[in-house]
Subunit: 447 residues, 2 copies
Amino acid sequence: MHSTTITQVRVIDLRFPTSRDHIGSDAVNVDPDYSAAYCILETDSGLEGHGLTFTLGRGTDLVVSAIQHISTGIRGRTLEELTRDLNALYLNLTGDTQFRWLGPEKGVIHLAVSAVLNAVWDLYAKSEGKPVWALLADMTPAEIVRCIDFRYISDALSVEDAIELLTRGKLGQSERLAQLEREGYPAYTTSVGWFGFSDDKIRTLCQQALSEGWTHFKLKVGGAEQDDLRRGHIVREQIGWTNKLMVDANQRWGVEEAIRRTRLLAELNPWWMEEPTSPDDILGHARIRQESGVRIATGEHCHNAVMFKQLLQAEAIDVCQIDSCRVASVNENLAILLMAAKFGVPVCPHAGGVGLCEYVQHLSVFDFLSVSCSLENRVIEYVDHLHEHFVAPVAIRRGHYLLPKAPGYSAQILPASLAEFSFPYGQTWQASSEQNGKVDEVHIIHA
Amino acid sequence: MHSTTITQVRVIDLRFPTSRDHIGSDAVNVDPDYSAAYCILETDSGLEGHGLTFTLGRGTDLVVSAIQHISTGIRGRTLEELTRDLNALYLNLTGDTQFRWLGPEKGVIHLAVSAVLNAVWDLYAKSEGKPVWALLADMTPAEIVRCIDFRYISDALSVEDAIELLTRGKLGQSERLAQLEREGYPAYTTSVGWFGFSDDKIRTLCQQALSEGWTHFKLKVGGAEQDDLRRGHIVREQIGWTNKLMVDANQRWGVEEAIRRTRLLAELNPWWMEEPTSPDDILGHARIRQESGVRIATGEHCHNAVMFKQLLQAEAIDVCQIDSCRVASVNENLAILLMAAKFGVPVCPHAGGVGLCEYVQHLSVFDFLSVSCSLENRVIEYVDHLHEHFVAPVAIRRGHYLLPKAPGYSAQILPASLAEFSFPYGQTWQASSEQNGKVDEVHIIHA
């Protein structure tokens, strides 16, 4: 077998002007421009690894710079060398003795590690001719365990625990795969209830989603009390009370306010309350869960496996919302999937944005095939924007993700889109006054 | 009174090549180049506000870029406008609806907020003709409270709690000030026991520190078990058993390993064990504290007030190590000082680096004058490097910080030093092969 050497890493600042249509708006993120720090691993074999991390517009350039730093750790190395010990690669990318001061393993530099590792997994899966979920499902338990950094989580999940879970996960795998081939993986839609949408638009979108076969719907809350309830009842009027409704406050409240507001929203019979308070507040989430009586979900802003470990240890969450880009790619999500399974908490990934749906389907499919082996209380988020820019976009049928079949990690963007939306010189931005991030374009949530 | 308008913000990437002499080396940070993302607020009144955040070399450019983004929030505004509501300023600098995705309130972007706010506090204190500690001590409780973001901490510290503590803190303030004038604020030295130092060098430095009047000494651990103990006993042989010895593992261990190693180190009778595990692991620290029987300290990598809140709520720490640059300047540290006082945990600031000693003395002096009102079990870290670059460096006498008297926040660096150590074009770096951050210069801790 000819070895594949990474000859060059190209990094692109990619921004879609979604804020112009209030797409993705919530109580905190009022004007997101769905964006990505995107990297391409060029090789001498013709294969390319594509990876991204999701951002919201301003500041994407910081992540681009961080990727340029971090990718010095892979440039010139062979794919075989990198994939022989994927945890060593993780430690290499996160362990720069000077760079780690800026985290460690959180924020800008960890988002950058995620993009680079996502690209490595994409390249790895392409070189094996498999989608990432199949690459993972075909690995032995020992191979999976070698992708994971146990340093700071072994008090909650030992190597032996992981091997045991994964060994059990081999049983019945082909039946579960056949089930996914038939039915797909269940999903929910967030596209009906963005914060900036009018009541009428919500009604129309609910009707449309119902007709497409959706059964789980998420609504953004965190506005005035009466507005949240009015919007919630509008959704309930449309979808009825047997379909599931989730509410999402996007970190808007302090702990005591979150308890009060969640109790008020209980009249909507929400399936979960998402991000009621600061994403760092593990003990706060535990208290909100205990005192509100509503199932609690969080994770899209949970910055590493140590934080997820504690959310599980503190019994703070009923739903574990992994993110494919905030933590370090497949490596760190394997740790989180295994911890969630050990603690008996279902994983329902955060998606939407750009590329997140494409990524997380692989993680949930692997979770069902090999880790939790269950679909109970498990749904992947779905948002219907920007998929047209992908080479192999997600396919949805009656509220389910269909199994992705193309080799790789599914988040490769079309060359024309990379050109048009690159910032600030792509066609979309050259025509815009926003290109220089002028002061008057900056919106402050609390001001 | 003539108003002061911020006309321009200059940002400098400043790096000192300390790794060449193993200064600052520990079990994780093996080759730090003490650095700073440094900013200067230029005004139309002739006053300048200088602020920095401490970094370790590579990646400082990311923080510089982040400061350039964030300072759009203060350029063109008047000092009076900014200081009228310092919490509004905090919310403004942290609340950019797109930028906050990269944190929120952690990592690169929060380090940048700290530098900008440190510069604002410097400018504010200079304009009032006072050192920052005196500016704070002269404020009313209501004025202090208006600097604090209570959103996510009010479940642990209400506005009323804070007012009550600060009102009590007014009693006897002049006596405490007189005490500090006479004796200074107690300190400890970390300069004797860096990880890269030989046994002989440790002996010599201990003797020298004893002769200078030091009574509290910190040793870096986290190497091989026998090496840690040997080095510890060398220090004990030199300083005896009545002087205090602290040990610092700089996040080297997982939770169970940390418990085991801390128990082993108990034979040195350490006054505290610092950073035994991941800085994010609140519950882990609580368990290490409970099961090792040694006092636990952490905080230099604790990224915001929500994390400090939980360390206190979980009874995870005996010593609260605030940092002047990782969290958002005086604003966020006021919240942490007040929470620590409410929970009865002494604050012993992290210092060293570059500028940290200069900064934290103000915070500890204010803590003694107005918040905890106690010196019991309280010492400020001291490291004897790089002070010669400051306009008004700290003054140490027999193991105590002398009260800083110059107006401002003490971390203004001399123009010649700013020029010589700016990266990569300053004289120090132009002569060096390190200037381009070449691949072979990057050290990975775990590789």
